[in-house]
């Protein structure tokens, strides 16, 4: 898929969510933990790192990461677009929703403002538990935002 197509696909996915504008697209935390026990599919919506009126034009973009689990093996595919500068690194981190934490594993990210994410990672039992408790998140760093530009917590797919 070309970056342009990716952007379009992403846009379509998101706009579908927005225009439906109903519960279906959104997973409440309670339902989530209940389902996470058996779930094998997880998804993170990637959105800008914390920003202010001064930084809203320099911390930009959007994306998505999809995770499937086979035993302790995590396979991740994803796409991102519209970053303010090229992606330099991407990681999975460990921290509960909205609470940053340490790096767990590295991902492969296209060195571009629009690109793809991939990874195959062997999780420890502890990390597997963290995933099921929504305590793993994906973060992409960029040339101009070395502290991170896009971020998203992984939640079980409904």
């Amino acid at each position: 898929m070309t970056p342009a197509k990716l952007v379009n696909t992403l846009r379509r996915v998101f706009s579908l969510c927005f225009s439906l504008a109903i519960l279906v697209c959104v997973i409440s935390f309670n339902q989530n933990t209940a389902r996470a026990a058996e779930a094998n599919g997880f998804r993170a919506r990637l959105s800008p790192m914390p920003t202010t009126p001064q930084t809203k034009n320099t911390i930009t973009g959007s994306g998505e990461a999809l995770v499937s689990l086979t035993g302790n093996t995590l396979t991740l595919t994803g796409a991102f677009a519209g970053m303010s500068s090229v992606a330099t690194m991407a990681h999975i981190h460990n921290g509960p929703p909205a609470q940053p934490g340490p790096v767990v594993a590295a991902l492969t990210a296209t060195e571009a403002t629009d690109g793809e994410l991939t990874a195959k990672i062997e999780l420890t039992d502890e990390q597997l538990m963290a995933l099921k408790e929504n305590a793993l998140y994906v973060q992409i760093h960029s040339a101009t935002n070395p502290a991170g530009e896009l971020r998203g917590w992984l939640f079980a797919q409904p």
């Binding site: 504008a21 697209c25 959104v26 920003t51 202010t52 001064q54 930084t55 909205a98």
Partner: protein, 716 residues
């Protein structure tokens, strides 16, 4: 024209009022001087250590401040103006040292890494220089303590004013009697409003924001059509129109009130109470034959409801000390009861709720929201001197139970925002902040209080409307604050009855099911200066000023909610008289797990506290919710959409798009048996507005377009 300097008079409230009276003359002078060949430079532009410092500051200001305050300090929708008379009125009697420490502690709001003390001093010099402080030569230091007004040339201060003189008093004369005979409003009429009327904020004393009209209902709402539109004055606007016997009384930004014929949209009268600014006022009240108005500079005014002519005026608090109002009064038991805001400064006076005689304006009582050392609750502020106890604003109008003769108010949190900035700890609860207070209307004494979030630590207040609900034999009070927690208490005793988390929150690790006592996450409890803490929701609130509605037919509390999170870092604030402030850096991000949906309408069964339905979308909601006996709930959003949902199921039944973002409080009324729905489009506002702006950057809308839209069913 003489370029002679005259000193600004010391700015006191009395002088401020006086100067309003002579404003015409001053402004004429100011306009004259703008035509002078010298532009904005001071008459004698000799260089000095001060002017060099100011020149350096100009660049720093452009880089760090101009985005919100304007390149010429003229203000934008993101930040207030920092020049001219309005600025000098706020800062004239203080010192450069205080201005420097205030800016350093509070600005820019997103964080100040990379701005040194020298930069802050240079910026302070630039602000003073632009405001005509030209009688000094020495560079500013952190302790420069001259009185700003004493060193500002009046000429330059006035030259900042580029706008034509604002009108005062009546600008359009008319009489409501010519449209429908005016009938004085009685206590009985306010206790049980006519179904056709919307005679106070949220319509009734119990704050249900519910209209008993059912002509427009789930079966026919899809044919709702525009009847008329009225453009309002520009500025920050979050208004709640008031409707009585077919006449709409509309508060505009800048303290302007209009009376409009609800049927035709014809303007009957208009009154400018001043000051003519761009500031917000959410509501006004009607009682007897008077419209009662709080002003942005903390005055209380009664107008003749028929003609708009002023009847009485009184001061609520001293605006030169920072006090202001952004919400108006309710009239309960013959008394005008109103709150107060702008209480973050380290001064002797603190915030209060006050009651005035509705016929004369005479003060009846005050209830102080901040306990002084020698008062009940005074020991909840550590060792802090009274002067440094700040916050506890009552910036949202309370509600009233006529049987219990109690008025219910929410109070804002302690200031500055983080305990370490306040020189306090997480154990210093700070009564009576972030509480529900039930106050006896006859004497202003406290009947009971419940502190929802003691020692608040993230700028998340619990100040919003108190909704009074009777269920079975129980008399209950509900509120929903920025933490997104729906609280239920017994409103006779104050006893805690239950809670519900309406959006994700991770600020508290525990909420005691029996007592309602909250426990903050450990890193929030111990947050140090300049240390970033990440938490949900953000200061835009799980819920903010947009009032929720109680739909009695279904027993549902239906609330407009917002889903964002913040990173917060406390800044240092010195304990000096006249200082204070908010003192935190903040950044914002989407709430995890919401798929980027900032807007949520949640409906909660008031008995079980369970969520019955929710409606979520990308655009944040910017009006209160209003429900009707037609089983509808109305709400508007940032993306210009005004919507009607089924109140029982949340199903979207109708929507239309207005000129700009839909913001304010929808209302419903009837004239000659025909039901109308009215809502305002509006711009401006603080966190609930600026946070989505930072996150949902793809949503665009005009930055002006305040207006009132009135809808009805065709052919009725």
């Amino acid at each position: 024209m003489k370029m002679q300097k005259s000193r600004l008079r010391p700015l006191t409230l009395r002088n401020a009022l006086l100067s309003a009276a002579v404003a015409l003359g001053l402004v004429a002078c100011g306009q004259e001087s703008t035509q002078a060949p010298t532009s904005t430079a001071t008459p004698t532009a000799m260089t000095s250590a001060f002017s060099d410092q100011a020149a350096l500051g100009a660049g720093k200001f452009a880089a760090n401040c101009a985005a919100c305050h304007g390149v010429n300090l003229e203000g934008t929708t993101l930040g207030p103006l920092l020049s001219g008379r309005p600025f000098l009125q706020r800062w004239g009697d203080r010192t450069p040292s205080l201005l420097f420490s205030n800016i350093k502690a509070n600005m820019p709001p997103g964080g100040n890494e990379g701005i040194s003390d020298a930069d802050y001093l240079a910026i302070t010099a630039h602000i003073l220089d632009t405001n005509g402080v030209d009688a000094i030569t020495a560079a500013l230091t952190a302790s420069t303590d001259f009185t700003i007004a004493d060193n500002a040339s009046e000429l330059v201060a006035n030259r900042q004013r580029s706008e034509p003189p604002a009108p005062e008093g009546i600008t359009v004369a008319g009489n409501v009697d010519d449209y429908s005979p005016f009938v004085p409003v009685t206590d009985a009429m306010l206790e049980a409003p006519d179904p056709a009327d919307w005679p106070m904020i949220r319509r009734s004393y119990d704050a249900h924001s519910f209209s008993p009209l059912d002509q427009i209902n789930t079966a026919n709402v899809d044919s709702l059509s525009l009847e008329w539109v009225w453009n309002m004055h520009e500025g920050d606007s979050e208004p709640s129109p008031l409707v009585y016997k077919g006449i709409i009384y509309l508060i505009n930004p800048g303290n302007v009130i209009q009376a409009l014929d609800g049927k035709t949209g014809e303007l009957i009268w208009e009154n400018w109470a001043g000051p003519a600014n761009r500031q917000d006022m959410r509501n006004i009240a009607i009682y007897n034959d008077k419209i009662i108005q709080a002003t942005t500079d903390a005055r209380l005014i009664a107008l003749d409801a028929r003609t708009g002519e002023q009847v009485w005026e009184t001061a609520v608090a001293d605006n030169t000390q920072g006090f202001e109002n952004s919400s108006g009064p309710i009239v309960a038991d013959g008394r005008v009861i109103l709150g107060l805001a702008g209480c973050a400064r380290y001064i002797k006076d603190d915030c209060y709720i006050s009651a005035h005689d509705a016929n004369t304006g005479e003060l009846a009582w005050r209830f102080n929201t901040i306990a002084k050392a020698n008062e009940p609750g005074g020991d909840t502020w550590g060792e802090l001197d009274d002067i440094f106890r700040a916050g506890g604003e009552t910036w949202i109008t309370g509600s009233y139970d006529p049987d219990l003769k109690l008025t219910y108010w929410g109070t804002a949190q302690q200031k500055p925002w983080v305990p370490v900035s306040r020189h306090l700890t997480i154990n210093d609860e700070g009564l009576f902040t972030n509480s529900t207070v039930a106050i006896n209307t006859d004497d202003g004494t406290l009947n009971w209080h419940f502190q929802h979030v003691p020692a608040e630590a993230l700028d998340l207040d619990e100040v919003f409307e108190r909704v009074l609900v009777n269920r079975g034999g129980e008399k209950l009070v509900f509120s929903l604050g920025k933490y997104g927690i729906l609280w239920k208490s017994d409103r006779v005793t104050g006893e805690f009855k239950g809670y519900k988390e309406t959006v994700f929150q991770n600020a508290f690790t525990d909420i005691d099911a029996v007592t309602g006592r909250v426990t903050y996450r450990e890193d929030i409890q111990n947050a140090k200066l300049n240390e970033w803490t990440s938490a949900c929701p953000s200061s835009a609130g799980g819920k903010d000023w947009h009032s929720m509605t109680y739909h009695e037919p279904s027993g549902l509390m239906i609330a407009p909610l917002s889903q964002t999170c913040l990173e917060n870092a406390a800044r240092e604030v010195a304990l000096v008289q006249g200082g204070g402030g908010l003192a935190a850096s903040r950044k914002f991000f989407e709430m995890p797990g919401t798929d980027g949906n900032l807007g949520k309408i949640g409906a909660y069964n008031v008995d079980t506290m369970e969520e019955v339905w929710s409606h979520q979308q990308r655009a944040s909601f910017h009006t209160g919710t209003m429900s009707t006996a037609g089983d509808l709930v109305f709400v508007g959003d940032l993306d210009r959409r005004f919507k009607a949902l089924n109140a029982r199921t949340g199903k979207l039944l109708w929507e239309t798009r207005l000129g700009t973002s839909v913001q304010g409080h929808p209302v419903s009324f009837a004239i000659d048996g025909k039901q109308y729905i009215a809502v305002t489009s509006a711009v401006g506002g603080t966190s609930p507005r600026t946070v989505p702006d930072v996150i949902a950057t793809e949503i665009t809308y005009p930055r002006w377009g305040n207006a009132l839209y009135v809808f009805s069913l065709p052919g009725n």
